[in-house]
């Protein structure tokens, strides 16, 4: 929405206006603390009860040369008084800490949007670094926007005249001046950020207090001057009653794995090698040792997955977490787990590629890799998380499949939901699925490859159990005995058996649900992180009078049992994907149904409007 310029004016004060939905982007140098600033604004808004969605966007370089376009780091947050599904297509407010941040983000800003710039950084040198020929603050190039020029650095130094910090440390507080201003502009309380600062810098109180002081200075500057003519508020959203927290996808994944460990009674073992954007799962799980979690930063991706397999062999919940390039290295290890039929969770937090690609940007192009990127017939269940909070449930479901069917499972997430945050209605622990399993104990008649009749799973018999000594390995197994066997009929049988085992998972996964009419002209089908943009677009299309249905896949291998029927009930099926049509390829092959792909591979998620426009085109425009 566009922020109104005029509102109700209280005597001698800025006008006040209530808006239902606002998108704010904080942008600066990668050292300017924009991720932290945005996160604080997000958390404060969460505590007010707004619905929210965030989109961090940071460079692959830790500190690209200061003031340059590649060094710009941004954090977008959308807050609303109603249910929202995306971090917003275009910001209403842009905080630009330097010319490069302005230049890199201006094109996304809504017409008549608010720009707050730090004028201290608009020096000839910085303008040149950002590629500006003339100073945009002085020419007419920003006329379409509401520009607020603030000497953030000067004001920060002035606010900290009494502080014992050196100038460099003082200057590092300037993001909190901007945050204080934005808090004022959107009528947010400062308390939760003050609390956070005092805990975070418990051992450096001078830093905490400097930031508190600067943030208050930003707030007061707005309050006592007439810098802004209008002040906004966003009321709480009507969320379902319950207890909420704000959560990032990687955090939800880490907590979900711990929950699965507790609910299954299996100690959690994570083997990992640092890789963007998956490392936060390792970081977070490393802090959960008090839940019996073992984290292992291995020498490489291969060791990480192999150690997880070793842990699973010993009766732990073996997990390995990586991104596309790391998954490629793990392929042989995953296939070993297929052959020895041990539970294993492989998390692929997808990023742009191929090769090193775009490490900090999002993409959904590992789907075919995880389906088929291993030698020979290698059936592996695949499940994809669709939102930050959904990573929690997805972790539990992945573990259920892995332990019930004695199989590696691949869990797909991506950079967008890994780093994005949303409110999460916290579940009751006792409502979580019961994942308890029993290791095989009975030596009588034991064979390592005998099968459960329903699931075809083999027994999980762990070392240390007397009488169950047995050998497993990557060579082809004789059915039942597990002995090495090269017989042609046995191999054919075992290949089909492993495929059938994974196919049978369909028996206990939910059918896919259609949102909207169960049959009709157009179904928009998605998987993974496109859920928000698709939902927003479909809801808007309906509000505009179009008839369109929507469905979203969680389990991708096997597909839900009713998927073929659902596809057949629609004239046209549109699949938006951040790849060149990978799910579409699977659907066409499996169901012989024509699928229309909408591809976007820009390293950025779909906007709601992009999908909306495609729906409008397909449905012949708004009625």
């Amino acid at each position: 929405m566009t922020l109104p310029i005029a509102g109700q004016t209280a005597a001698g004060r800025a006008a006040e206006a209530t808006v239902s939905d606002v998108v704010i982007r904080f942008a600066g140098d990668s050292g300017d603390g924009m991720q932290l600033t945005g996160t604080q604004f997000t958390n404060t808004s969460a505590l007010i009860g707004n619905d929210l969605s965030t989109l961090p966007d940071f460079p692959a370089e830790i500190r690209a040369p200061a003031g340059t376009l590649p060094g710009v780091s941004a954090f977008q947050v959308r807050i609303a008084d109603h249910d929202i599904h995306t971090p917003g297509d275009a910001p209403d407010v842009l905080v630009a800490m330097n010319p490069a941040a302005l230049k890199a983000n201006l094109r996304d800003l809504r017409d008549n949007g608010v720009i707050i710039v730090n004028t201290d950084e608009f020096t000839p040198r910085n303008l040149k670094r950002a590629g500006y020929e003339s100073n945009p603050l002085e020419d007419d190039s920003l006329n379409a926007f509401r520009l607020y020029q603030v000497a953030l650095t000067t004001m920060t130094r002035r606010a900290l005249e009494e502080s014992p910090l050196d100038v460099r440390s003082k200057d590092r507080c300037k993001n909190f001046l901007a945050l204080g201003m934005v808090y004022w502009l959107f009528s947010r309380p400062l308390e939760s950020t003050i609390d956070w600062l005092r805990v975070k810098f418990k051992r450096r109180p001078e830093i905490a207090e400097a930031n508190v002081k600067v943030m208050k200075a930003g707030w007061n500057f707005c309050d006592i001057t007439d810098a802004f003519q209008v002040r906004y508020d966003v009321e709480p959203a009507q969320l379902e009653p319950g207890i909420y927290r704000s959560i990032h996808g990687n955090s939800a994944l880490a907590i979900g794995l711990v929950a699965a460990s507790r609910r299954s009674g299996l100690p959690l073992f994570l083997g990992a090698y640092p890789i963007t954007p998956a490392s936060d799962v390792l970081h977070e799980l490393a802090t959960y040792k008090h839940f019996g979690v073992t984290t292992y930063q291995a020498e490489d991706e291969i060791a990480a997955v192999c150690a997880a397999i070793g842990a699973s062999f010993g009766g732990s919940l073996g997990v390995s977490c990586s991104s596309g390039p790391g998954i490629a290295l793990k392929a042989e290890g995953i296939n070993l787990a297929v052959m020895v039929e041990l539970p294993l969770i492989i998390c692929d937090i997808q990023r742009g590629g191929p090769s090193t690609g775009l490490p900090t940007k999002t993409e959904q192009a590992d789907l075919l890799q995880v389906m088929f990127g291993r030698n020979n017939e290698s059936p592996v269940p695949v499940i994809a998380a669709s939102s930050p909070a959904n990573c929690f449930d997805t972790a539990l479901e992945a573990v259920r499949m892995a332990t019930t069917y004695m199989t590696p499972v691949i869990l797909l997430s991506d950079g967008y939901i890994a780093n994005g945050a949303e409110p999460w209605r916290i579940p009751q622990v006792e409502e979580l699925p019961d994942l308890r399993i029993d290791f095989h104990q009975n030596a009588e008649g034991f064979m390592p490859y005998m099968r459960n009749e329903r699931t075809l799973a083999r027994p999980w018999a762990i070392p240390g159990t007397p009488g169950l000594e047995h050998r497993i390995g990557g060579l082809e197994k004789e059915d039942v005995t597990g002995n090495v066997n090269y017989e042609p009929e046995n191999h054919d049988h075992m290949v089909r058996l492993r495929a059938e085992k994974v196919a049978r998972i369909v028996n206990d996964i939910p059918d896919i649900e259609v949102d909207g009419p169960a049959r009709g002209e157009l179904l928009v089908l998605g998987w993974g992180s496109t859920l928000g943009a698709i939902t927003g677009a479909v809801n808007q299309a309906r509000a505009d009078g179009l008839t369109v249905s929507r469905a979203h896949l969680w389990h991708i291998n096997p597909f839900p049992r009713n998927l073929g029927d659902v596809l057949d009930r629609f004239e046209r099926v549109l699949v938006p994907e951040m790849n060149l049509g990978q799910l579409a390829l699977l659907l066409r092959a499996r169901y012989l149904k024509d699928i229309e792909t909408y591809s976007k591979v820009e390293g950025k998620p779909f906007t709601r409007d992009e999908i909306l426009h495609r729906i409008e085109d397909m449905a012949g425009g708004p009625s």
Binding site: A46, L47, I48, G49, S192, P236, Q238, L239, P241, G242, I243, Y244, R245, S246, I247, I255, V258, A259, P267, F269, G271, Y288, H290, F291, G292, V293, T294, Y296, A298, E299, D300, I302, A303, A304, C306, A307, A308, I309, G310, A311, F313, G314, G315, S316, L336, V340, I426, P427, V429, I462, P463, G464, P466, E469, R471, I472, G473, G474, L475, V484
Partner: protein, 352 residues
């Protein structure tokens, strides 16, 4: 309270029902027999043994041992074993590997496992050739070696496995020979007793692709003339009738003929527990093991030092933090910043 003594284990208890399928005459048979003879004497219940291997002739080893076993993928056995030992410290985990498996494709895992001092035992069967892939040169093949992949002779400078292990910080490094059964068994027992990564190189004859590679050491005269049997606290003497010794000049070892006033007292007394690995490294460098060089082949324990193990460190941290920072799953899921939406739609901070 009555106690029931478990019946003593025998070699037979460790023999699996699988037919052993190494080539007739392969050195692996002797090593298998030695391991099956040593394991019953270690005082460890059979179900606590796990043998993990990679790929190659040696890596078929687990199939022939009636213990838990895992024949994994090429080069990765130390990684599998590390994950297992970290989570199951009660198990006695042995890795069986070869020169290609451990030093070529799996070199990274070997050095990092040794560096961490994971409490596992690694037996490297070194036959200086790729057997299972039918005769290519390996990272321990000597320069000039003619194989299928080096028809004009190898120009690829080899590793000395002992030096790799010592250079990686291994806390136990030893060497024995497939056909030196009593020596091999004694070394295996020492390795079994070591707390931490124990690295044992076993020189092993591949009679198909690299026959007699160690003949100068293993034949009747070579055993005495070319074997230097290290013993902690004993002077370095060797040769027929122990008539030669090794002196340390301060920078190098030199072979001395004993007699004429030169005695064992002039030779270096071997110290496997020396803090500094330099001497063990120099000792390892004396010979690649074939008995063809100017120096004898060091056999036995080169290095055995006490050091904390990685797996114990990991488990200690988990135990300690579990005690000092108890938290329920419910608390974890809630985190620190929550808000509550009540039935009337009112929002307030906190979880009540």
């Amino acid at each position: 309270m009555p106690t029931t003594e478990a019946p003593a284990l025998t070699r037979k208890d460790f023999q699996s029902d699988q037919e052993v399928r190494w080539c007739p005459g392969c050195g692996d048979y002797a090593i298998l027999a030695a391991v099956q003879q040593v394991f019953p004497d270690l005082g460890i219940p059979r179900e606590k043994f796990v043998i993990v291997s990679g790929i190659g002739c040696s890596s078929r080893f687990p199939y022939y041992m009636n213990t838990y076993g895992f024949h994994s993928i090429h080069g990765r056995a130390p990684a599998v074993a590390t994950g297992l030992k970290m989570t199951r410290p009660d198990l006695d985990v042995w890795v069986v590997t070869g020169d290609g498996d451990a030093l070529s494709i799996g070199g990274n895992h070997l050095i990092h496992t040794l560096r961490r001092n994971v409490n596992i035992k690694i037996l490297l069967f070194n036959n200086r050739v790729y057997g299972l892939t039918k005769g290519q040169y390996s990272p321990t093949s000597e320069l000039g070696k003619r194989t299928k992949s080096t028809p004009h002779g190898s120009v690829d400078f080899p590793f000395n496995p002992l030096n790799v292990a010592i250079g990686s910080g291994a806390t136990f490094v030893a060497r024995s020979v497939d056909v030196f059964i009593p020596h091999l068994k004694a070394v295996l027992k020492r390795a079994a007793a070591h707390k931490g990564s124990a690295f044992v190189e076993v020189m092993q004859n591949c009679n198909i692709y690299n026959d007699k590679a160690f003949a100068a050491l293993t034949d009747k005269t070579g055993r005495q003339q070319n074997g230097l049997y290290l013993e902690h606290g004993k002077p370095l003497v060797f040769g027929d009738n122990k008539d030669k010794g090794l002196r340390f000049t301060g920078t190098d070892f030199e072979v001395v003929q004993l007699g004429n006033g030169t005695t064992a007292d002039d030779c270096l007394v071997w110290d496997e527990k020396h803090d500094n690995p330099s001497l063990a490294f120099q000792m390892a460098s004396l010979s690649t093991g074939d008995g063809l060089g100017d120096y004898p082949v060091p056999l036995g324990v080169l290095r055995a030092i006490d050091a904390p193990t990685y797996d114990a460190g990991v488990i200690d941290q988990i135990d300690q933090i579990s005690t000092t920072r108890p938290q329920t799953l419910d608390q974890l899921i809630h985190g620190t910043d929550t808000w509550t939406v009540d039935a009337g739609g009112t929002v307030h901070r906190g979880a009540n």
